[in-house]
Symmetry: C2
Subunit: 286 residues, 2 copies
């Protein structure tokens, strides 16, 4: 199992503080050491780093820590698996409709077996050469390709965001039937978060306060870092700070963040919430 | 205009020495300062770095210089253009047939205008949602997408290498009609080099000798670095060392390297060769 981190921000912002705590879980405070990656949607393009080294040891992760990269959407991933192949490191990216879309997954699924290793919608096999296929051998990249192939099969051009949300929400609920499926998904405009077991978020905005990391002895005063106009949401598998009020996404809740806030949201009624202990135990036994 | 660098090697090798000389052209000995990128096909996956900073100033390029990354195929690019957008930094990558393919281009083309901004073969518009589209606005990425769309339109699955070579050779000659088109192309197994103006290569194998960079005061003894079994070819826009015998590719020559050697080769008869001065002047006036 892995852990997820993301940021969606109104203005380009530096995820450095949150990343410092997250990175520690890649070998210091937790054992997600089988790879690391981060994708920044900068104002002029996608910056994507993937490494087969752990976040604690990776020279790329050290570069990330030392560089104040500002972006409106960021997705990061620390991996815990049976292998540390570079081709299996998240986040994954593909071009669709002339945009770079980025995906990370936390969980363990039997989707490859269920679909006989074919990430293509059943009734669209005539366009065999056109489909996205996984490069590595993870269930995660397979699910990403499946989602993109479903999108391409259903829509000739990029649909509006409400349509996209409804479609992806249903597709994520379909995928969640085959195991554990927490995911982050972005095209640089919006950030979709789907929780199947554990996913928390905190929105930081004026009046900004101080925050203290859980995994590393580090505190920050966001009032110094930000303008009153700034709004940003951090999403993580479990809370990264001890003195902010993190909100939990319900089991099978789907949310799209934009400009730092929730713009689309759908959860089962009544919502169900796992405790962190339950969620981590499910992951460990998966 | 830009400059290209590549390596094709029998065994995973470190391109560091050649990169040191190449990097200097990104701001020290030449002015290709509008971005930099490098793609390594490592044994377990693709490692791709792109930056909107110059190779001389980029922290990523510094990381590349300090890290002995070993790969059988490497493509690097330093950019000189009217913009330094991150989305326009080479090399570009797309997944095709479950493989990551990587492309870099040196030149200036009117291909977008010639094809009315549509990187899709004429008779395959029915599969509109399936096509690769450029994310940035370069002629280079447009040409890359055009090549991939042509491949997908022609072949349902990956063809054998002889067929692929013949097909890509003809496609490259088609593209070269629309301006200057030097390119490097790899799927990690083979490296295709197409010369339209300037492209040189040198093959290093036993008995290995010493080499001295042109752009930086640095010498190396390849006999110390390599085993007698090693064979590697370095390809560059212009020679990087002063004491090795670099071979020039002819105008519109197409070559595929594999395991450090040429395996497919086709050039016009009689071959034409530009002097470095002629080639650089054509590039400057393009």
């Amino acid at each position: 199992m892995c852990q997820l981190l993301a940021m969606n921000s109104k203005n380009p912002a530096d995820i450095g503080f949150s990343f410092t705590g997250f990175r520690a879980r890649g070998g210091l405070t937790d054992s997600h050491t089988d790879g690391f990656g981060i994708a920044y949607f900068e104002p002029t393009g996608l910056r994507l780093y993937c490494d087969d080294h752990s976040a604690v040891e990776s020279p790329l992760a050290e570069l990330v820590s030392q560089t104040k990269t500002r972006a409106c959407n960021v997705i990061a991933h620390i991996r815990k698996s049976d292998d540390d192949l570079l081709c299996n490191a998240h986040p994954f990216t593909r071009e669709i409709w002339g945009e770079a879309w980025v995906f990370s997954h936390n969980g363990k699924m039997t989707i490859q077996e269920a679909l006989n290793g074919d990430p293509v919608p059943n009734d669209h096999h005539q366009n065999a050469a056109c489909h996205h296929c996984p490069i590595g051998d993870t269930d995660s990249e397979f699910a990403f390709c499946y989602l993109l192939n479903q999108l391409k099969a259903r829509f000739d051009s990029k649909p509006d965001e409400q349509t996209l949300f409804n479609f992806l929400k249903n597709q994520c609920r379909f995928l969640a039937q085959f195991g554990i499926f927490n995911c982050l998904f972005s095209n640089g405009d919006w950030l979709l978060s789907y929780a199947n077991t554990l996913l928390f978020y905190v929105t930081r905005q004026a009046p900004f306060s101080k925050a203290t990391l859980i995994d590393v002895d580090s505190q920050i005063d966001f009032a110094i870092m930000n303008d009153t106009d700034d709004v940003m949401t951090i999403i993580a598998t479990t809370p990264l700070t001890q003195d902010e009020s993190w909100q939990q996404l319900a089991v099978n809740e789907c949310v799209i963040f934009k400009n730092g806030d929730i713009v689309y949201q759908d959860m089962p009624n009544p919502p169900e919430y796992l405790s962190i202990e339950e969620g981590l135990e499910i992951a460990q036994n998966a």
